[in-house]
């Protein structure tokens, strides 16, 4: 069985714990197409649009730790992951989000109950679109007791306990 799922991300290692929980609880006969989605408003300037490159923007938003951490996860669940991509969503309204979901054939959305940490000024929380979206939304409880010193390090993805609730 093949399923496409969407997880909102803020490019922090903490946000990958949602992905970890999803993969941990995924039945082994299902392979997943995973989309990590980040909400960011695109620039109005014609110059920025002219030289816009999604890859470059994603690169500037993510960090080495984030990349290494998702590689660790992807390596662990290699056989369950069919495809993995990080995408940007820059729509303004619900209809745009719904059509994004439709075109990408997304069946499920997993969100964490923790608050997103948006480092970029133009980023926005996808939560309000997700809650009103037509597909199934599953909330994941992330453990908040983890010590703060490991914030941002890959260690976080190793140690955090998460559960689907």
């Amino acid at each position: 069985m093949r399923k496409t799922i969407l997880i909102p991300t803020d490019f922090t290692v903490t946000s990958l714990n949602t992905l970890k929980a999803v993969l941990n609880n995924n039945p082994s006969d299902t392979t997943l197409d995973i989309i990590l989605l980040h909400g960011i408003t695109s620039s109005d300037s014609i110059r920025d649009l002219l030289f816009f490159s999604k890859m470059k923007q994603i690169e500037s938003l993510s960090s080495d730790e984030f990349e290494e951490a998702y590689e660790v996860l992807c390596n662990k669940f290699d056989s369950q992951i069919n495809s993995f991509k990080i995408d940007l969503f820059s729509g303004y309204n619900q209809a745009a989000f719904n059509s994004y979901i439709k075109t990408n054939k997304i069946e499920k959305i997993f969100i964490s109950n923790g608050k997103q940490k948006l480092s970029n000024r133009k980023s926005f929380d996808l939560g309000r679109f997700i809650r009103k979206s037509p597909v199934e939304v599953i909330t994941i409880n992330t453990d908040k007791t983890s010590t703060i010193t490991e914030k941002g390090e890959i260690t976080e993805v190793f140690l955090k306990q998460v559960s689907i609730g």
Binding site: E68, L73, N75, K76, F77, D78, T155, F158, L159
Partner: protein
């Protein structure tokens, strides 16, 4: 001074060469242009004079013509299939070939130092004539000297100006540099606390002096570390020795029973063993600290190594509770392979894990393994006493022991040794800790690139 004059010379010579070439260029351009201009005038004159003469608009040529050029003379020589212009050439004062050139090409020009000659072929109904106009070489006589003088004066003025600028520059450019040199000379191992002044007036020099200062910072720290190391090492080595000496002194003070001897010899042996352990650890530290010796590197699977370490530590102390967490173990085992020396890595991981056990009073220690495409991650987490926040920067100093470790045995060599080993493997060691809550050690080792 030598440096200064070299700078002046470096500054002046190219400028002078450029200016000199410029002057030569200007001279020749001007002279060429004015000669050209004069020849054009001469041609016009020749045409006009010939017209006047042959078409009879004016009879008297000798009367003052307002258009006449300075020192102008005009010659009219008929061409009647003459073979030689010997006489004419003598009269005009130029070579015979000039005449043949005029006949052949319709015109010719000739320059001497004082005169310019222009000859044209002029057709009349009486036959063809050679009309030659001669005029003073106006530029050569009146202007050349002036131009040369001007140029020479300009060169001289530029030279003086440049000399002044070069002097000024060489003095002022080197002033801060020599100040830095002086200051750096002052700094020696005795007064490493001295620093250069960092005035940010001059960007490059500011960078230079701040780089110097950074280097001094590093040197000072390493000096201090070394000093500490020596005092700590001697102290550490002396403690068992003092115990041995004291014990022997006491025993030798009077004859004793056999079991008393046995007792004290046991104590001596114990202390000597401690001493032996310390020197061994020191030796290891020294060996791994230098890159001179090359260790044999082989392909190692990290999970296997960690199982070995766990087994080993469990045998050494049955109270250890080490939990190997394989939750994020990659599906592809090739990603867990690193290139390294088994003994050294074994030692490094044993150190970290046994530390975790020791300082958490044999509580659970979790060892997690994971791998990205380029690196292998090993995370070791304990719930022990942790490291006080302000002491975490000293943990890699040999013999440093945190203030809360009084109740635990140890020499303070394990962590620096581990760091050296991880460094040898191009890895990274990251220690985060909260006092009384636990310590997390994250080790990153580059994995062998899987060959596709």
């Amino acid at each position: 001074m030598k440096k200064q004059s070299r700078i002046i010379l470096l500054f002046l010579v190219p400028f002078l060469i450029v200016i000199f070439l410029f002057s030569i260029f200007i001279y020749f351009t001007v002279s060429d242009y004015s000669e050209d201009y004069l020849f054009k005038l001469l041609e016009a004159r020749a045409n006009k004079v010939a017209k006047e003469r042959f078409e009879g608009q004016k009879n008297l040529i000798d009367t003052e013509d307002p258009d006449k050029l300075p020192h102008e003379r005009d010659f009219f020589i008929p061409i009647n299939n003459k073979k030689s212009f010997f006489e004419e050439s003598k009269e005009v004062g130029i070579h015979e070939r000039f005449f043949t050139d005029v006949i052949k090409r319709g015109e010719a020009q000739f320059v001497t130092k004082d005169y310019l000659y222009k000859g044209i072929k002029y057709k009349t109904n009486k036959g063809d004539y050679i009309v030659i106009t001669v005029a003073e070489n106006y530029f050569e006589i009146n202007q050349a000297e002036n131009l040369i003088k001007t140029l020479l004066f300009a060169i001289a003025a530029a030279f003086l100006l440049l000399l002044y600028i070069a002097l000024y520059f060489s003095k002022n450019i080197f002033k801060p540099i020599s100040a830095i040199t002086e200051k750096v000379k002052e700094i020696s191992s005795e007064n490493l606390h001295l620093r250069l002044n960092e005035d940010n007036a001059n960007e490059e020099l500011y960078e230079l002096s701040s780089t110097f200062n950074d280097m001094l910072d590093r040197i000072e720290t390493s000096f201090e570390t070394q000093n500490n190391f020596i005092s700590n090492a001697s102290h550490e080595l002396r403690t068992p020795l003092t115990a041995i000496i004291g014990e022997t002194d006491v025993v030798l003070s009077k004859p004793r029973q056999t079991n008393e001897y046995i007792e004290s010899l046991k104590i001596i042996l114990q202390e000597a063993e401690k001493l032996d352990n310390k020197t061994k650890a020191l030796l290891f530290l020294a060996q791994t600290g230098f890159n001179g010796k090359t260790q044999k590197f082989e392909k190692i699977r990290i999970d296997q190594l960690l199982w070995d370490v766990k087994e080993n530590l469990d045998i050494l102390n049955s109270k250890n509770r080490i939990h190997l967490d394989m939750e994020l173990l990659p599906e592809n085992p090739l990603k867990l392979k690193v290139s390294g020396n088994t003994q050294l890595l074994h030692l490094a991981f044993s150190n970290i894990i046994s530390n975790g056990c020791k300082y958490s009073n044999y509580d659970h220690v979790t060892v997690s393994i994971g791998a990205s495409d380029d690196n292998v991650y090993i995370v070791i987490k304990d719930k022990g006493i942790g490291i006080p926040e302000n002491e975490i920067k000293y943990i890699y100093d040999p013999f440093f022991r945190a203030s809360n470790t009084k109740n635990y045995e140890g020499y303070g060599i394990g962590l620096p040794l581990t760091r050296n080993i991880i460094r040898m493997h191009n890895g990274k060691l990251l220690v985060t800790s909260i006092e009384n809550q636990g310590t997390t050690v994250q080790i990153t080792l580059p994995s062998i690139k899987s060959v596709n």
